[in-house]
């Protein structure tokens, strides 16, 4: 009897221990061969009836002939449920890693979509968000071959550039997007890709005002923006106007706001090397080398200033400069206050270039 009682108490205690932890004692049947863990959704808006088009590729992560599933739905999970009815396996969203959103949809605002994804406990916060242009479904349709695991390769691409902040392309996951979205003093940014035939081309970075896409920066501006955003590493900074390519660039940025929020001074220390030079400048000559360095410094200063002015004009802050206003034991400023100050702020930019010439300078 004592043993029976003891066993009952131990079992009861164990289940009580498990249940409050949120663990379901009898979990879902997720047998891996019976489910289809999709890894991306593509969402397109702009239909006349207000519905969205949601697409995915099945079967994911396997070397089999694939097909694109597309549905026109009102709600995201309606699409998720609808996919199950038209495919032989149950589609599970627990491994979803990429969310491609059409540019038109992004311009209308992403809050409802993001909230749906965010509140789903199965979906990880490490979900890469991407803005797409062109016909993304057509791009998928060109990659249905059994040897082609385009879904997996796209994920690998984002994961590669996310790691160590490689800086070739902008990579933002759901967690980072949410953090910037709900911050009082900054705005989100997302990468933009264009689907062209069977290619998906990186175009630049989409800038957001709250949850709506308002602008896009490309090429050189995009690279400079990446350097400024949390001191990233950029493999090549191509400056065609100066006929020079800087390589292995690391920037260390110091931003300083005056206490009355009237001016911002940015000091950028750029370390790198001259990888390519397509001019008659002889960098082995010290005089010419210093002149080139100064030229690049002025050029970068102008471009940074131009980029920040654009952001001021749009009253957006994707570089999170507003974060400088947050101090311990002081009340954070409101969005409106920051926008008002930011749009009229005087900006001073100072770039200091530390170049390795990779040649003997006399």
């Amino acid at each position: 009897m004592t043993r029976f009682l003891r066993t009952t108490i131990v079992l009861l205690a164990s289940f009580l221990m498990i249940l409050p932890c949120g663990c379901v004692p009898l979990p879902e049947n997720n047998m891996i061969e019976e489910i289809t863990p999709i890894i991306f959704w593509s969402v397109k808006g702009g239909r006349e009836d207000g519905k969205i088009t949601i697409s995915t590729l099945v079967p994911p992560l396997s070397k089999e002939k694939k097909r694109v599933l597309t549905l026109n739905v009102s709600l995201l999970n309606e699409g998720n449920k609808g996919f199950n009815l038209i495919y032989h396996n149950e589609l599970k969203a627990g491994q979803i890693r990429l969310l491609f959103v059409d540019e038109a949809y992004a311009k209308r605002g992403l809050t409802s979509l993001i909230n749906t994804v965010l509140t789903d406990p199965n979906i990880s916060k490490r979900l890469f968000l991407v803005i797409t242009k062109g016909n993304f479904d057509e791009f998928l349709a060109k990659h249905l071959d059994e040897k082609d695991s385009i879904d997996f390769y796209l994920y690998r691409m984002f994961k590669h550039y996310e790691k160590k902040k490689q800086g070739e392309i902008t990579v933002v996951n759901l967690h980072q997007f949410m953090k910037m979205l709900y911050s009082q003093v900054s705005d989100p940014q997302l990468p933009v890709f264009r689907a062209e035939g069977e290619q998906l081309l990186y175009e630049g970075t989409a800038l957001f005002d709250w949850d709506r896409m308002v602008a896009e920066i490309r090429g050189q501006d995009d690279q400079i923006s990446q350097l400024l955003y949390r001191d990233r590493f950029v493999r090549y900074l191509v400056l065609p106007d100066l006929s020079v390519t800087l390589g292995h660039i690391r920037a260390h940025t110091r931003k300083k706001l005056t206490s009355d929020l009237s001016s911002l001074s940015i000091e950028i220390d750029v370390k790198g090397r001259i990888d390519e030079l397509d001019s008659l400048t002889r960098i082995e000559d010290n005089f010419q080398y210093v002149a080139l360095t100064q030229k690049i410094e002025r050029y970068l200063e102008e471009n940074v200033f131009h980029l920040l002015s654009q952001m001021q004009h749009l009253r957006i802050d994707p570089l999170q400069i507003g974060g400088l206003t947050i101090k311990p034991f002081s009340r954070p400023i409101t969005r409106d206050t920051w926008d008002r100050h930011w749009s009229t702020m005087k900006i001073n930019v100072k770039v200091r270039l530390h170049l390795e010439p990779l040649t003997k300078v006399k």
Binding site: V10, M17, L26, P27, P37, L61, S62, N122, F152
Partner: protein, 474 residues
């Protein structure tokens, strides 16, 4: 008590074809009767050292004729039969009517060989044999102390097995000795053919799958245990001695730990704990992840698993269960086969069957790899009994993982820890020095600290003399 008589002895030894009763007469006309069991005595010594001197002697008694022999006077039949069966020759002097016993056991035994169960690269190579006296000798050589006490017990109504309790008096906690003596005295069973049979009767929790006595055939290991305040139990006719009290952590210690450099040993010891955990939970984790928690798998691994499991007819649980059972069959078969055949069996079992199972679509490549890692991990634990126990634990975790996923594995681990916490060895806690906590003993627990840092005997053993170094300071 029955009086000894030739008739009574003849009656007792009836139908024993190796029992001999020989009569001899001396030149003086004295009659001697020799009674012995031919197979268990040294017949050569009997002829040369007992019979020859006795029948040629002109002395009046056995004691006077055989001055170098150890002669025991017998008074009753029970004692006579007991001595006879232990290898004594009974000698009856018809003139005096006395019965004497002269111990002449057959010293047939294998020589001192290298330990096969606890092999080490460096260090002492000798190991115990089946002969009790030889085993005690190996310890006495290492610990030449008068404080090294041995107490004899006889257990088993049929086997009459001699058990020797050994400890260092004045060092060991007397509580352990008293407890072991009580346990040994209370044994009531007919046969004891191995030390594990004795252990089964003296351990505190015989239902547990964890051994509560350390079985070893290494004299250096026994000497070390005695020296830090443990006791050793030798059982006749088995090369494995029992060491107690032990804790779970002792089962993961190898004699080589104290031979390797301390940093190397400290690296290897956690590896054994990790291997034990891997051996019991690696495949259950695979089953839990592929059955319930596909979300937890990194996408790269999911890619590989989906590819490998896409066309399998069996669920992850049954797949793992069948592979593990097959693996155990191969392991058991290779243990029972001759050495050369077992090597081939390992190759056939491991590579050919594994490869064939994958190609036939019965098992996934991932599981075969995990089963291999899991099987090899079991061999890192120095204690053979724990290696065997880990198999049962693995199946328990497998069932938990299949029904409850990762919470099931955690539940199993909590249950296992609770069980271990409740275990005792020689009435001492099995999880010491972790629970109860003895911080000083941690120097030789998960890591093997330098010998200089081990100047104090383990607190958990509460030895009477806790210092291993001279306390005199200049």
């Amino acid at each position: 008590m029955t009086a000894i008589s030739l008739e009574a002895l003849e009656q007792s030894l009836a139908l024993m074809e190796d029992a001999e009763i020989i009569n001899r007469q001396t030149p003086d006309g004295l009659h001697f009767t020799f009674i012995y069991i031919g197979t268990i005595i040294d017949q050569e010594r009997l002829n040369e050292s007992i019979m020859e001197p006795l029948v040629r002697s002109f002395q009046s008694s056995v004691e006077k004729s055989l001055i170098t022999a150890k002669i025991t006077r017998l008074f009753n039949l029970e004692q006579a039969l007991q001595d006879l069966l232990k290898g004594s020759v009974l000698v009856h002097d018809s003139s005096s009517g006395r019965w004497n016993a002269i111990l002449l056991p057959n010293s047939l035994s294998r020589s001192i060989e290298t330990s096969e169960t606890e092999t080490i690269m460096f260090g002492p190579k000798d190991s115990f044999s089946e002969q009790l006296e030889q085993n005690i000798l190996l310890i006495r050589r290492r610990l030449p102390l008068t404080a090294l006490k041995t107490e004899r017990y006889t257990v088993g109504s049929l086997t009459q097995t001699t058990v020797v309790l050994m400890y260092i008096d004045g060092l060991i906690n007397p509580e352990f000795v008293d407890y072991a003596k009580n346990k040994l005295s209370s044994i009531d069973f007919d046969m004891f053919l191995d030390s594990s049979h004795v252990a089964a009767f003296i351990e505190d929790h015989y239902h547990s799958i964890f051994p509560q006595y350390l079985q070893t055939d290494r004299p250096d290991s026994c000497a070390h245990s005695l020296g830090i305040g443990k006791l050793v139990i030798f059982v006749n006719n088995t090369p494995f001695a029992l060491v107690a009290p032990i804790t779970l952590f002792h089962l993961f210690q190898s004699p080589e730990d104290y031979i390797n450099r301390w940093l190397v040993a400290s690296f290897l010891r956690p590896l054994r704990y990790l291997s034990f955990l891997l051996s019991i939970t690696l495949i259950p984790f695979y089953v839990a992840l592929t059955t319930h928690h596909y979300q937890m798998l990194p996408l790269q691994i999911l890619y590989v698993i989906i590819e490998s499991r896409s066309k399998l007819p069996l669920s992850p649980f049954w797949e793992a269960f069948i592979i593990l059972i097959t693996l155990e069959i191969i392991k058991e078969a290779s243990l029972r086969m001759p050495t050369k055949t077992s090597q081939n069996l390992g190759v056939i079992g491991g590579i050919v069957i594994g490869q064939a199972a994958v190609e036939a679509g019965f098992a996934s490549k991932v599981l075969i790899v995990l089963a291999g890692i899991s099987a090899i991990s079991t061999f890192l634990v120095p204690n053979y009994l724990v290696t065997k126990s880990s198999l049962l634990l693995q199946f328990m975790f497998l069932i938990f993982a299949s029904y409850l996923g990762i919470p099931g594995i955690l539940l199993g681990l909590v249950g296992m820890l609770a069980h271990l916490n409740g275990l005792t060895s020689l009435n001492q806690p099995y999880l010491a020095p972790v629970s109860p906590f003895y911080w000083r003993d941690w120097v030789d627990l998960f890591v093997r600290g330098p010998l200089h840092a081990m100047s104090i005997r383990p607190d958990a053993l509460r030895p009477l003399n806790k210092y291993r170094v001279s306390r005199r300071r200049k």
